[in-house]
């Protein structure tokens, strides 16, 4: 009951809508960026053979466990007024948060896309090449063939971004009405001792994540049929 009262008060203030909107905008932007770069990259790593390939695959898999706090701190030092990229004036803006989360999601999307494409390439690579496809054309073909696996890769990236707090609280600053997201608001409310509100926000976040994931699989399933 306590949950509902404080949550509905937060909803009525309008602040919560902004927080939810920003959370989704930042996480979806970062995930889309990671997908646009990571899917072709992961598939390319399965199709082409070149000296540094093994090394890149190992790196992508190693970075699955990239600590958000370290990404946040590194980006903070780069974007700080006294850092090399300070002139961009991106620190403590949603833009910085998108970059941080894209960095975190990219290895996940790349590694999972590579895993899926590897099997497809082993099974259908020769057939594709016999049909006269170039390796360049094989990349989008493999993404299309493995779209459910690719979707899983992208959703895994999304899961990383939407639940992450360590990086965005450092580069975003948790500024009310500007860079406060669901996860940073949960940390803040916990620190104010308002545990019911923090828990309520957590449930809203989980609900949203599940809805997005279900919607994505619904869409993919339909185009599959």
């Amino acid at each position: 009951m306590d949950n509902l009262a404080s949550l509905s008060a937060a909803l009525a203030s309008g602040e919560l809508w902004h927080i939810i909107g920003l959370s989704l905008a930042v996480s979806l932007s970062a995930t889309t960026a990671a997908a646009v770069l990571g899917l072709p990259l992961g598939v390319a790593l399965a199709v082409w053979e070149f000296p540094a390939r093994r090394f890149l695959i190992v790196i992508a898999n190693a970075l699955l466990g990239l600590p958000p706090a370290v990404v946040g701190l590194t980006l903070y030092l780069l974007l700080s007024g006294s850092g090399p990229l300070g002139f961009l004036r991106l620190l403590f803006t949603p833009g910085a948060m998108v970059i941080a989360q894209a960095v975190l999601a990219l290895p996940i999307v790349t590694a999972l896309a590579h895993r899926a494409a590897e099997n497809l390439w082993a099974g259908y690579g020769d057939a594709l090449m016999d049909l006269g496809a170039s390796k360049l054309r094989a990349v989008p073909a493999l993404i299309a063939m493995g779209r459910l696996s690719m979707l899983t890769a992208v959703l895994a990236g999304f899961g990383r971004t939407v639940s992450e707090v360590g990086a965005i609280i450092v580069v975003g600053g948790n500024i009310a009405g500007y860079t406060r997201t669901m996860t940073t608001a949960i940390v803040l409310e916990t620190s104010k001792g308002d545990l019911p509100l923090a828990l309520g926000l957590g449930l809203v976040l989980i609900g949203l994540t599940m809805m997005i994931s279900a919607a994505a699989f619904g869409l993919a399933g339909r185009s599959h049929a």
Binding site: A25, S29, L39, S80, G81, T179, S191, K192, G193
Partner: protein, 279 residues
Amino acid sequence: MKRTIRLWLWALVAVVALSTLAAGDDTSTSTIRLATTTSLDNSGLLGAMLPIFTRDTGITVHVLAQGTGQALDTARRGDADLVLVHDPEAEEQFVGEGHGTNRRQIAWNDFIMVGPKADPAHIGGGHDAVAALIKVAEAKAPFVSRGDRSGTHALELRLWKMAGINAATGERGWYRDIGGGMGQALNAAAAMPAYTLSDRGTWLSFKNKGPLAVLVEGDPKLINRYDVIELNPEKHQASQLAAAHRLSEWLLSTAGQKAIGEYQVDGEQLFHPSAAAPR
């Protein structure tokens, strides 16, 4: 296959569009970044009074709520336009280094020692923070330290020094450095339960007090003063110093002082405007 390429191009467009949307808001000259302490923000004071300033001046204030040490570092690196903190020694150093100028007190309240109602160290009702800390150490009763270079942490270390006890390097177990904000420290103290030092503003607005109660208060050593510090234009040309100066002036103006004095939580005044300040 063409469809996939087209889809990929659309996704590229979506990235650009979404990030513009996300970054969309203002970063114009009428926005300033205020590096301040969690106590002023978590207690709700800034949330209550800054909208009045924004309405009167058109200047938006982005609040970065950090510990005092971190807030001063943020300003040193050029990532803030104005500082509002509460650690006299660290502030003097900041001004001495040439980063800050025009340091003025805007409000004060006090620190308190809170702890479990059961009070195993028997400090309840006391008015001497140092004597209370000595009793806590003798009883080896759990004590939570912020450990985060905040203003409250700095005061705690000064009090231990006065007590002649080196708690941090002493016997482990009862002295617990949690390395977090005031709220985290209170959450930890409520769960253990343990004693801790808190500013009154955060304590009064804190909602998870559990078994904790105020045990020591009214010691002159526990005065908590909040100062606004403007940045030195010689070191911080890139900052929004003119707009920051307006906020600094407003905090000391009749309107700002009134907003500070009128702010209440559950009928209790949290901060006293500095016109009546003991220095």
